[in-house]
Symmetry: C2
Subunit: 233 residues, 2 copies
């Protein structure tokens, strides 16, 4: 099962040698293939190592647990999200349009995972799971996405009042998680329904923006954002 022990790179150090980088990529690709074909639960480090043609020990060297493989995937997807968003944000100054860019590029990046996303939901929703997007382990991927929403807000020609600008990026990231949940259940072609839902929500968001300056709304809305931001704490 683990014939390729010659690939053992257990003594290499970062930065990776070209060979080590190839091994790491091979393990990552094998994991992705297995997640896609067999789902999250049925994927084991043992299987991933065998599929990648490396020893189990070698696979564990690069990714100490299956969780590390998923976190790698989280970060890769959010880095691609950032790369897709950056040039588009430079082209539009309207707050709502900028938020639309972040949400839409986010869904675009998820597209290749639609088929097997449901198999991850169980591990993602458990409060104590390292795969929960709220966990400390998910911090690196989360920081990228919250940062994109922060960029969208602070770079707009019509920025939000400061108290909102401070709280909204985290709330928008949670809204993005909910939209992703809707998307993972969405069986419409190309998940078109999720994109339409987003467009409608953004239209209503734009219409509601002036309300943030009404004292009657401002107070409870700021408190609500604070509580929402405390989810899982």
């Amino acid at each position: 099962m683990f014939e390729n022990d010659s690939e053992l790179d257990g003594d290499s150090n970062p930065p990776l040698t070209p060979k080590a980088a190839r091994t790491r990529t091979a393990i990552r690709d094998a994991a992705l293939r297995s997640f896609r074909e067999h789902g999250f639960e049925a994927t084991s480090m043992r299987k991933v190592a065998a599929d990648a043609g490396v020893s189990v020990g070698n696979a564990y060297y690069y990714f100490p647990t299956k969780t590390h493989l998923v976190q790698e995937l989280y970060v890769e997807v959010q880095e691609a999200h950032r790369d897709a968003v950056t040039p588009l944000l430079a082209k539009t100054a309207d707050l709502t349009d900028r938020l639309g860019v972040v949400f839409r590029c986010g869904l675009d990046q998820l597209a290749p995972f639609h088929g097997f996303a449901p198999s991850f939901l169980g591990a993602m929703i458990a409060p104590e799971s390292p795969l929960n997007p709220l966990s400390s382990e998910s911090g690196p991927a989360r920081d990228i996405t919250v940062g994109l929403f922060r960029d969208a807000v602070t770079g707009a020609k019509n920025p939000l009042p400061a108290e909102f600008a401070a709280r909204v990026p985290q709330a928008l990231w949670l809204a993005y998680l909910l939209l992703s949940l809707y998307w993972s259940y969405d069986r419409s072609a190309g998940q078109a329904r999720s994109f339409t839902l987003l467009d409608l929500a953004l239209r209503l968001f734009k219409l509601g923006l002036p309300l943030t300056r009404m004292p009657l709304v401002r107070g409870p809305l700021l408190q609500l954002l604070d509580l929402v931001g405390q989810v899982g704490k």
Copy 2:
């Protein structure tokens, strides 16, 4: 392990004899104890039968799968929800207050399950799971809760415009699921944070009510409610 085969009631028919009803309750209680102490995954029909002092065959007669035990729990909780809501709805005519009654009583009914609710989340969120609140198997419990929101809306002195009244009960039920998710992560004493979040959301809902009569808002909001109602379809 299954000493009490004398309890076999495999040939009884509904309505249950007093003895059969006691057996059924014993199995249900043992399942609830096991869910509480060991979580959803670690609870098996074999273990439930042993704990209830009945044979496995007898347990299967009353509850063909573990899923049936959870559905029983869903329906029990929502029946208790309805019983708690009904007298309170009779006392208040304001729409927002009536919705508050349904949401708050719903959280109250969940209180005894807070400790082990997280162990159910994984099985509840899988799109194809019979324990998913959107599944056909969850229909009986769901119908009760959506019905409570419908009663709250239609019985109010300030009812919603008809197009909203038709769509809002389903959307409120989904909001209740999201609130329950927040609640299941909520580690504040007595989950006070979830109740405060609800109060703030209701205040904002009340302030936003007049917007449903603005044509610019009405159109996209009705479309949004339609899409939200199609989740999982």
